[in-house]
């Protein structure tokens, strides 16, 4: 019997567990629709903030041997401009039977509430709260994901501002990510997304300089898969809300491993660099083949398999 890839996420029925990660082609209705047509199960929009931002100057991204490093710098049209874009995207995704997740960020705790209220006007299926971008530290200071206290404060403000389901996106570079997940869930987060990129940099020996214009950036792709698996595995042991496990997923086996670590959905970002949005249908095919071959009838039968048995 063929395995089923159908996923139930907070009551939202999805065709498959693959989510386009925020910041990956989430910039227009047409490009998000393309990701949907090419096999994604849900699409996350690029993080929008209170004001328009052009982001950092080039170089902003390098597909480095072990993955990708980027310092895009949260390029976005501002949340007010983002609302019609999200509405149009939602209309198109709905026609294809896909949910839309809307990502947002803000420079202060209060601003998170204001941006969330604006984004909620577009009625996305989920609001993903990006408190963990490592590339805007010089302007915004330490990311709110750094401590359980600041992560919880943002969650509480967003929770009060909107009724829609919210997921908080966490950073990997903390001593105990499980505790941070616990803190955001206790303030009302409906889900947790983990992980954002790992703070990193590339230096070119011949130039004797950092390669990214912003000097430092965030590492993603194959190099961070083990980091992401550990984060999700720890979070899954601390909270019972669904997890969007993200980081270094580029094939069906990667996705299976992420689900076995406890993820309900699987975010895919950097893998798009190598083969375009067609990567989603390939990962789905490989995941389904693996499940069929190994006798997993559905995602639930695989979820959390690698967690310590209680």
């Amino acid at each position: 019997m063929e395995a089923s890839l159908a996923a139930d996420f907070l009551g939202i029925q999805m065709k498959n567990p693959l989510v386009v990660a925020s910041g990956i082609l989430g910039t227009s209705a047409s490009v998000m629709e393309r990701c949907a047509r090419e096999g994604a199960g849900a699409v996350t929009s690029k993080s929008a903030g209170p004001e328009p931002r052009t982001g950092h100057a080039n170089p902003v991204t390098l597909a480095w041997n072990g993955g990708v490093i980027n310092a895009i710098g949260l390029t976005n049209p501002g949340c007010r401009e983002e609302v019609p874009l999200l509405r149009e995207t939602h209309r198109r995704l709905r026609a294809l039977g896909l949910p839309l997740f809307a990502s947002l960020f803000a420079p202060s705790v209060e601003a998170f509430g204001e941006v969330a209220r604006v984004i909620a006007e577009a009625e996305p299926d989920l609001i993903e709260v990006n408190i963990s971008c490592p590339n805007v530290g010089s302007e915004f200071g330490t990311p709110f994901s750094a401590t359980a206290k600041s992560a919880a404060e943002v969650t509480a403000v967003v929770r009060k501002a909107v009724k829609l389901p919210i997921s908080i996106k966490l950073a990997p570079n903390v001593p105990e990510i499980g505790r941070i997940a616990q803190a955001v869930v206790s303030e009302g987060a409906d889900a947790v997304t983990a992980i954002n990129t790992v703070p990193a940099m590339l230096i070119d020996a011949y130039a004797g300089k950092p390669v990214l214009k912003n000097a430092t950036g965030g590492l993603s792709g194959a190099a961070i898969k083990p980091v992401a698996l550990k984060a999700v595995w720890e979070i899954a042991q601390m909270v019972s809300v669904p997890i969007i496990g993200t980081g270094g997923i580029s094939c069906g086996l990667d996705a299976a491993e992420m689900i076995m670590a406890g993820a309900t959905l699987v975010g895919v970002g950097s893998a798009v660099a190598l083969e375009g949005p067609a990567v989603f249908s390939r990962i789905n095919r490989e995941l389904e083949a693996f499940m069929t071959q190994e006798g997993y009838p559905d995602l639930a039968s695989m979820r959390g398999k690698a967690l310590p048995q209680k």
Partner: protein
């Protein structure tokens, strides 16, 4: 839509090259020849070129044995690159994107302004395969033309248009190209230049049922299909019969029409 080239993963890292020679094409445009080559570059593909602390921008591959880029000075980054001297370094990642694919044996090449940059690479390849090549080049004025001699010496038949009539026929390169289509009856048209020129050629080719390969420009940031900044506007995709969400860096820069 064409599938992804298999060596895309090589396009990721910056590699340093040294300038081995500089050819002055005109007042503002120089061709830099480097001391090495890219792995398996196809005509129409591009590289992201980086100068530390100055910036990184996309440029078409002008030739690959040895590697050459033709750079027109339009702003801060291209200015710094045009001023590079022999032995200076430039860092490149690539080849990126999907290039031209030769179809048939009679090829019509059309270049507007520095859009001619990737055409000599294509012409060389076409002539190597014993095809016939007619090249139409256009610019505002004689001083802005590039690669006229290079393409002629390769063995292409050349037709030139300048808006002020200072060289070749007076008018737009699209007019010369239309005449060439009638006279030469090519199997395929290949063009690179301003969007307006490409759209005019697309309309004309669609009317004639002539396949066209058009190389588009866009604001490039990641260059590898992640950031969305180079998406061709949806109206253009519809007009050209391309699927929505078409990315210049990943699906292009060359769009296959008809």
């Amino acid at each position: 839509m064409k599938t992804t080239v298999n060596h895309r993963s090589l396009g990721g890292i910056m590699r340093p090259y040294r300038v081995a020679n500089v050819l002055r094409e005109n007042e503002t445009t120089h061709t830099l020849l480097f001391d090495g080559r890219l792995p398996e570059a196809q005509p129409g593909q591009f590289v992201m070129a980086w100068l530390p602390e100055i910036g990184e921008k996309p440029f078409s591959i002008h030739a690959n044995i040895p590697l050459a880029l033709t750079i027109c000075d339009v702003g801060p980054v291209s200015n710094a690159m045009v001023n590079l001297q022999v032995h200076d370094r430039l860092w490149l990642r690539g080849p990126l994107g999907n290039g031209f694919e030769l179809k048939g044996s009679k090829h019509l090449l059309v270049g507007g302004g520095y859009g001619a940059a990737p055409l000599s690479f294509l012409a060389e390849e076409a002539l190597r395969q014993e095809g016939e090549v007619v090249a139409c080049l256009g610019a505002k004025t004689k001083a802005d033309l590039i690669l006229v001699d290079r393409l002629t010496s390769l063995g292409c038949e050349l037709r030139v248009a300048t808006e002020d009539g200072s060289e070749g026929s007076q008018g737009l390169v699209t007019e010369v190209a239309q005449e060439a289509i009638d006279a030469f009856q090519p199997d395929c048209l290949y063009a690179c230049g301003p969007t307006g020129m490409l759209l005019a050629l697309a309309d004309f080719c669609q009317q004639r049922g002539l396949p066209a390969q058009l190389s588009f420009e866009a604001l490039m940031r990641c260059g590898v299909g992640l950031c969305g900044s180079c998406e061709l506007p949806e109206e253009l995709c519809q007009r050209l019969g391309l699927p929505g969400g078409w990315l210049v860096c990943h699906d292009g820069p060359v769009a296959m029409i008809g």
